[in-house]
């Protein structure tokens, strides 16, 4: 970060540019190259079953859902998915902080983790990535959908954030009611001669 802003700082301070370019260049250029290198969204060496199990466990703690995104790092539409999450249609509801645990599973060139996908009823296919599976907090499959269902009218190679948001809203967990567990905890505390450790948190 410091290396990124260093040229700007020097420029604004009116100082002369740093001396021998051949000495300075590697220190500045290398981090920039690293920062610009496309981040791999799909972990190509991860154990897919373990990834999904961890997401289900985390979702169960917060009574929310899991969205499995089956895809590949070199697929154009898959690569666009992280940016799609920042579309206005997707940020009104905090889908990926409050409502879903998102897990990316690498299917490579449709030669990886297909057995895991099949076990979840998912059918990732050429031209239809990413493929999505919604799981409940017990790991039960609630919905499967191909990217083609979310194709943008203007650009079929892109995902429509509105369609994606509608799908996520349809399958998100119903909001829990705070009163029954609150009253149950008070009753239990009274019965056991204990106190209630009441804490407010959020899935994020």
């Amino acid at each position: 970060m410091i290396l990124h802003v260093l040229p700007l700082v020097l420029l604004m301070s009116g100082q002369s540019p740093p001396p021998p370019p051949q000495e300075v260049k590697p220190a500045i250029v290398l981090p920039r190259q690293a920062a610009q290198a496309p981040r791999k969204v799909y972990n190509e060496t991860a154990d897919a079953r373990a990834q999904i199990a961890a997401a289900v466990k985390a979702a169960a703690e917060d009574d929310i859902r899991v969205l499995v995104n089956w895809g590949a790092n070199d697929d154009e539409r898959c690569a666009k998915f992280p940016a799609l999450q920042r579309a206005p249609e997707m940020t009104g509801t905090r889908y990926f902080s409050d409502e879903y645990k998102l897990v990316y599973v690498d299917v490579g060139h449709l030669d990886k983790n297909l057995d895991v996908a099949q076990a979840h009823g998912a059918k990732p296919a050429v031209g239809a990535l990413p493929y999505f599976t919604v799981l409940d907090q017990n790991g039960r499959v609630l919905a499967n959908a191909s990217a083609t269902e979310f194709a943008a009218a203007a650009d079929p190679a892109a995902l429509d954030p509105g369609k994606m948001a509608a799908f996520l809203t349809k399958h998100q967990a119903p909001a829990p009611d705070a009163d029954p567990p609150f009253n149950a905890a008070l009753s239990q505390a009274k019965k056991d001669g204990k106190y209630v450790f009441l804490w407010f948190s959020a899935p994020w």
């Binding site: 009274k190 407010f200 948190s201």
Partner: protein, 106 residues
């Protein structure tokens, strides 16, 4: 609080209740019974069986949230001592130490 070591110790004194402040219907209203202004998350309170708060996480310097700094951990100790009925002094010391160690790891 969910750790294997800490949870059983806390369970001697408390019934644990986590409410999702943003998603759970009625959670904000429940918090308002104990403090008027939203405090940020996490926020917690120790209640008796009738729903009365004996002490909550907003101390003299504000909400201690997840107690990490020495003064926040000290306030958490004060909270435990305020309601101490089943916990021994050694167990309170253990809980405090677990927070100190968690803070060192982060």
């Amino acid at each position: 609080m969910a750790s294997k070591d800490v949870a059983p110790v806390l369970a001697k004194e408390f019934v644990n209740l986590k409410l999702d402040f943003d998603r759970a219907k009625g959670a904000k209203e429940i918090e308002k019974r104990y403090i008027e202004k939203e405090q940020g998350l996490p926020w917690f309170a120790f209640l008796d069986g009738d729903g009365n708060a004996l002490i909550h996480s907003t101390g003299p310097k504000g909400n201690v949230g997840f107690p990490a700094q020495p003064d926040e951990i000290a306030y958490f100790r004060t909270m435990l001592e305020k309601v101490q009925k089943h916990l021994t002094d050694a167990e309170i010391a253990f809980l405090v130490k677990s927070l100190e160690e968690a803070n060192k790891k982060t």
